[in-house]
Amino acid sequence: MKRIILFNPEKCVGCKQCALSCSFIKEQSFSLGKARNKTLWVYKKNMSVPISCQHCEKPLCLDVCPTGAILRNEYTGAIVINDERCNGCKACIEICPFDAVIWDVDLGCVIKCDLCGGDPECVKHCLYGTLSWVEADEAAISQKRSGVDYLAEVMTELKET
């Protein structure tokens, strides 16, 4: 069965080890600007909120991409970028409700979480239970959806202020 990352935002303490680990595995340096995830301090809620690609069941980024550079990896279920096809239009960055797609100014294309090919680094370095790597059964997917609702609410609020 495929696996998904479950987010439990209430447990996030804001340590950023998810982002530090992501940038390290991908860039071999600690470049939070290029991490495919982030934690945002939402001062109004007194919470740190972990933000990352949700590998949506109906991915808006995939639909909006004009060159077919965004596709789903059959093995992991992750939404991934084919950088050779990316033309840099950034429509995917605009449309993502989670700000999960990032422009890499050095590569000249977009980058995003690809679940590390099925062994996500972020989860391995979260010691607080915020991120867990679980089988995508019904219960997990239902829990994921409510987590996503919360994330969407936070992102909308952040964009409004």
Binding site: Q17, F30, L32, K34, W41
Partner: protein, 650 residues
């Protein structure tokens, strides 16, 4: 030049001229003094002239992190503030954490050096290459929480250091907060910022920290994560924060009535201690990179202060200090902590001063008219809140409290303070050796160059009653050489504390220079070998464990010499007289200062002998209590050896 570990740039900000200058970090000097505390003290040694008034524009403030900050090494968020501190007139590096040091590093700066004085209230804003001195007149007069929230609202996800009204009024016990969750600069950083019209600093950074050998670095990093994952108390520490160590700390810090009484703790536990704490609502928070977070936001669920939320490093400080001042309600303890943090007052120092005043009143030495009519009632939260406000604004007798023990000496005379308090170098230390024995934390208060501090390197004696085998293991973890360890264990009391403290100090200097959090819960996972691996892999400069200890010794000698220049010497390391008087338990039992293993009641001669052993192991002049020329030259501090020749130091 490519920098590894280090960010590579320094920011020079002159508030008088409103100028911002960026310079490349001198890599050789950075490595020689490691970074953080070491590098900042080295730079300040050149920039600060002796006998400078701490509130003058000529007192520079250096703020920055270390070479491991911003890397994924767990627990490396530390930021140091190095300056001459007004409470003691001594020079040193206060330590904080949360986001500012981390974001400053990712913005590309190892540290910022602030000089001069702005003509009106300002805050410094650092966003990668964009550095500005911004108008802060709309923030002046606001407390630390309001200031920080305002800055978060404008600048979003950033690191903030802010001071409150106490700093604006040049309080000598005014401190700052980093993102509300960490205090920074006990001893008057807030006041020094106030003297510069500098309300706050803000930083965001989108840059990167490169490591020279990613594979080697990651191996060391992963080994730390593995240890933490196996640690059985990890979840308890996140759940309870520093309160997890309440059984120890409540005993060690539980004294009251001007350190003459140790109260019975059982009922305290229910009213204001661990049992009461568990009833507060709580959200756990951590610093960037932390893997065993212990900071928190607590909320009062009921009573007079229902709904009050307090963002704090830990409820523990206020629990203990509330006990000292007679408060018996956890809601009031939270209110006390929150009010203190908003004004930006050092709660430890304030509580010591107020406890002293209350004690003089209770024994009939003073009346309320002697303190300008301010109310004197231990156990009354409203009385404490009045004193906090008066201290913040320097009103009435609050003006004397704002000057700390210097102020009280003016009122009551030096003699009374000397006889009746545990003041060392102008401030009281938190550890009382009559309760916990003269361990490293307690003894280190004598020799800490900027006045007693809660930190002492997290040595093997950090908790009570460690068997000698455990102490030896911790000593090896701390990088103590076999030769030094043998000398430390060569004592009829099992451990020669004076000698042991030299290694605690080096361990502390190492953590504060590299940016590693030295709190016990983080410190315990680190050892000298892992630090050597992390540093070498990050920077590309191979420093062995022995090298690191040597470099730390160098840092400690710079720390001492910058204070020798200010006139500090052996006379300032003397143990306070009260240590040799008993403290009473509530049951009427007398506790005398004993050694760590509680086998012998210690005399002044015992402590002086250990002080001599300390200087001896350090290779310092025993009579003066300062480094010798030979030691400084051995450590590559030739210019400081030259300075020793000047008449002032002899």
């Amino acid at each position: 030049m490519n920098y590894f570990g280090y960010a590579g740039k320094e920011l020079y900000i002159d508030l008088t001229n409103n100028s911002v200058e960026k310079r490349p970090t001198n890599f050789d000097i950075a490595v020689k003094f490691l970074g953080g505390m070491g590098l900042q003290l080295r730079l300040l040694y050149e920039l600060l002239k002796p006998e400078t008034n701490p509130f003058s524009p000529e007192n520079p403030i250096i703020i920055g992190s270390g070479p491991l900050t911003g890397t994924g090494a767990p627990g490396t968020p530390r930021v140091m503030a190095t300056l001459k501190y007004p409470e003691t007139g001594a020079v040193g590096s206060g330590g904080g954490a949360m986001r500012f040091g981390f974001t400053l590093k990712l913005a590309g700066y190892d540290h910022i050096i602030i000089t001069g004085k702005a003509s009106k209230p300002v805050y410094i804003k650092i966003m990668d290459d964009d550095v500005q001195i911004c108008d802060a007149s709309h923030l002046w007069g606001s407390d630390i929480v309001e200031t920080t929230l305002s800055l978060w609202k404008i600048h979003r996800d950033c690191g903030v250091i802010a001071m409150g009204q106490a700093g604006e009024h040049l309080g000598k016990i005014a401190q700052t907060a980093c993102d509300l969750g960490a205090s920074l600069g006990r001893g008057g950083l807030g006041g020094v910022m106030g003297s510069k019209n500098l309300k706050a600093l803000v930083a965001t950074g989108t840059g990167s920290i490169k490591v020279a050998n990613p594979k080697r670095f990651n191996k060391a990093r992963e080994s730390l994560f593995e240890r933490a994952k196996r640690y059985p108390y990890h979840d308890d520490i996140v759940r309870y924060g520093i309160m997890e160590n309440w059984p120890n700390y409540s005993v060690q810090f539980g004294y009251t009535k001007n350190r003459t009484v140790v109260p019975a703790l059982e009922f305290i536990d229910k009213q204001v201690g661990f049992e009461a704490y568990k009833k507060l609502a709580k959200k756990a928070l951590g610093c960037p990179s932390c893997f065993i977070a212990d900071k928190e936001i607590v909320e009062i669920p009921s009573g007079r202060f229902k709904g009050l939320k307090w963002f704090t490093p830990s409820y523990l400080n206020s629990a203990v200090l509330s006990t000292r001042l007679g408060i018996r309600d956890s809601g009031e303890a939270v209110k006390f902590g929150d009010a203190t943090d908003r004004y930006g007052i050092d709660q430890l120092g304030f509580s010591d001063l107020l406890d002293f005043i209350f004690s003089l009143y209770e024994e009939g030495t003073i009346k309320e008219s002697d303190v300008g009519g301010l109310p004197l009632g231990r156990g009354d939260i409203d009385v404490i809140l009045i004193w906090l406000e008066k201290t913040a604004y320097r009103e009435g007798f609050g003006n004397m409290i704002a000057d700390s023990w210097q102020g009280l000496m003016k009122v009551f005379g030096d003699d009374l303070i000397k006889k009746r308090t545990a003041v060392i170098k102008g401030r009281e230390g938190i550890w009382d050796p009559r309760i916990s024995g003269l361990g490293t934390n307690e003894f280190a208060q004598l020799t800490y160059p900027r006045g007693p501090n809660a930190e002492s390197g997290g040595s093997g004696l950090y908790t009570l009653n460690q068997p000698v085998e455990a102490v030896r293991r911790h000593a090896e973890r701390m990088g103590m050489s076999q030769e030094v360890l043998d000398r430390c264990c060569d004592s009829p009391l099992k451990i020669n504390i004076g000698r042991f403290v030299t290694s605690s100090e080096h361990w502390l200097a190492l953590f504060n220079s590299l940016g590693i959090c030295n709190r016990h819960v983080n410190n315990r996972f680190y050892n000298i070998d892992i630090i050597s691996e992390l540093y070498s892999a990050a920077t590309g400069i191979d420093l062995s464990p022995q090298d690191l200890i040597k470099y730390s010794e160098r840092v400690w000698n710079v720390f001492k010499m910058i204070n020798v220049k200010e006139g500090f010497s052996r006379k300032d390391d003397e143990p306070p007289e009260v240590w040799f008087q008993p403290i009473q338990t509530q049951e009427g039992k007398e506790l005398h200062m004993m050694d760590y293993y509680k086998t012998k009641r210690l005399t002044r001669e015992d402590v002086i002998e250990w002080l001599n052993d300390y200087y001896d192991l350090r290779g310092w002049d025993k009579e003066k209590g300062i480094p010798t020329k030979e030691k400084l030259i051995e450590l590559g501090l030739e210019d400081m050896a030259q300075d020793l020749n000047k008449a002032k130091f002899s």
